[in-house]
Amino acid sequence: MSVAKTLSVRNLSIEFGGVHAVEDISFDVAPGETFAIIGPNGAGKSTIFNLISRLYTPTAGTMHYGEQDLLRLPAHKIVHAGIGRTFQNIELFEHATVLQNLMVGRHSHMRANPFLNFAFLPGVRKSEIEHRRKVEDIIDFLEIAQYREQKISDLSYGARKNVELARALCTEPTLLLLDEPASGLNNEETDDVSFWLDDIKHDLGITIVMVEHDMNLVGQVADRVMAINNGRLLAIGTPDEVRNDVEVQRAYLGVAA
């Protein structure tokens, strides 16, 4: 497995028809760090993720992952750089099974040749079995074995969240972007998430950048926190520093209270 690198974002900005969704934001995420992005609704948190994923192209600024200039990559190459992600609204393949979803997670490590696939040559079979084994490790890790054969459309919300996290892990990322991993989950499920995030960080050595509203969870798992509002940076520091920042309290905690 390749090693985690530093994510460095400089002066990142994007506009949507005059709306400055993200404006002049800079931050670094060190290898192995858990970094949280917080901010009120519409602050631009998901937009930052979509920019790093190259789903959006910034109007200004740069993004590097290690030596790799992310702006030089199309969206479908980002995963090859070692960056995996989940979505705020869960973007699973609804009409496919959990296994199929996870196997698409292996796509970037597999060879997709229509001719070989059509004929299902021995090499293809071997590769399927090999990648199926990797998928099985992730299934064990996140304890989703009971859903293996089920269609996503038959799963509960909590199970879907787990499967989406599993699918992102199947890409063998060194940097994981998690958009609200605990939103919509009950306390027990949130505890599970906190536990897994810990394992992902310590056992798998994966750098985590997460957007999260649950300040308890952020306090538990995050090494550093960045607060933004209206696309602008408010504060960056340890969870306590950010919690106690006057600007942040006014913009974010004030809204939440």
Partner: protein, 358 residues
């Protein structure tokens, strides 16, 4: 219900895991192999034609059911297959080589269409493919030096490896072998990365992209595979028709293919086969209907397309769960026209949240 104990990863790769399934499939294959001993030539030819339509259905299913891309002009590929094959045969090219060239040529045209279509969404793609279908039909009509125009083109006799297959049962076995090959290959495709990338594009382009699927390329590939399979069906169809005229490959035929996969059930290879059975029985039901209905309605021209359209609408509206009813992404295309690209980025799956309340 049978509970499956899986003891090896290979168990997942197997097509027919359950004993019941194995028995059913074996039974159907045996019946199909034995058909020539049980059926008269006329019915055998009809059965062969049904198989050809099943192949065409699988072709369109790959595109629409599995990749979520519409084509309302798919009969064009049927026509390209039929004409290319017939023209090559009449120029003295041997059957197998002609078939290979026909399939490759259809795939190439499909990929070309896919290249433009991969940048379009929903409604626009429907119109573009419809226009393509009409264009190709016109080409068949106008390029008479090559296609015989509206006069028609005689399809050369069926000779495989120098062996004339003039008997109905011989042609039937050729259709059967190729049908089984296509079903096998298409099933393989969907248990391997290529097919899975198609399913991914159908269900969420966004996450497909983030998992490393080149979405545009996947769409082009899907058009290529679909056109290749449909072109093969066209080549086999030519031998059933023995005389090609452009009108056979018009809008009505495209509608018929669409009807097949909609009724059969979106997103499954078996659905395409069911659909082929359905459209093969339909003309019989239709001729029966014509006798029953008062002459003023029954004899009206255009009853067939009207009925096709009506059945498609009814199936789409009521989305029967029984026959592989999976119309989701396609419906999403039309519902969200023309905002598909935009709305796929914003919160729309609010049902996920309400799911918590239940």
């Amino acid at each position: 219900m049978q509970f499956l104990f899986k003891t090896a990863y290979t168990d997942d790769i197997r097509f027919l895991a359950r004993t019941g399934e194995k028995i059913r499939v074996a039974l159907v294959v045996i019946l199909l192999l034995a058909a020539p001993f049980m059926l008269q030539d006329y019915y055998l030819a009809e059965l062969g034609l049904l198989l050809v339509y099943a192949i065409a259905g699988i072709g369109l299913m790959t595109l629409t059911g599995h990749t979520g891309l519409v084509s309302f002009g798919h009969a064009a590929f049927l026509g390209i297959g039929a004409y290319t094959h017939s023209i090559l045969l009449s120029k003295g090219v041997p059957f197998t080589i002609s078939l290979l060239i026909t399939v490759s040529f259809s795939a190439a045209v499909g990929m070309l269409i896919g290249r433009s279509a991969s940048k379009m969404f929903g409604f626009y793609m429907a119109i573009a493919t419809l226009a393509f279908g009409i264009l190709i039909e016109t080409v068949f009509g106008e390029w008479s030096s090559l296609t015989g125009g509206h006069q028609g083109l005689a399809v050369p006799d069926l000779i495989v490896f120098g062996l004339p297959l003039a008997k109905a049962w011989q042609q039937y076995y050729l259709d059967l072998v190729l049908t089984l090959l296509v079903i096998w290959g298409a099933s393989n495709l969907f248990r391997t990365p290529t097919g899975r990338s198609f399913l991914a594009v159908r269900d969420s382009e966004l996450s497909a992209r983030c998992l490393g699927v080149n979405v545009e390329w996947a769409k082009i590939q899907a058009f290529g595979v679909s056109a290749a399979i449909t072109g093969l069906a066209g080549a086999l169809l030519a031998h059933h028709l023995s005389y090609l005229v452009p009108e056979v490959f018009g809008v009505l035929e495209s509608l018929k293919l669409m009807l097949m996969i909609v009724v059969g059930g979106m997103g499954s290879i078996l659905g395409a086969v069911f659909g082929a059975i359905f459209v093969s029985i339909l003309p019989v039901a239709l001729s029966f209907l014509k006798d029953v209905l008062p002459a003023s309605i029954g004899q009206t021209a255009g009853l067939e397309p009207l009925l096709f359209g009506l059945i498609i609408v009814i199936v789409i509206v009521f989305e029967p769960l029984g026959i592989y009813g999976r119309w989701m992404k396609l419906r999403f295309f039309f519902e969200s026209f023309p905002y598909y690209r935009k709305s796929s980025y914003v919160r729309q799956k609010s049902y996920l949240k309400t799911d918590r309340m239940r």
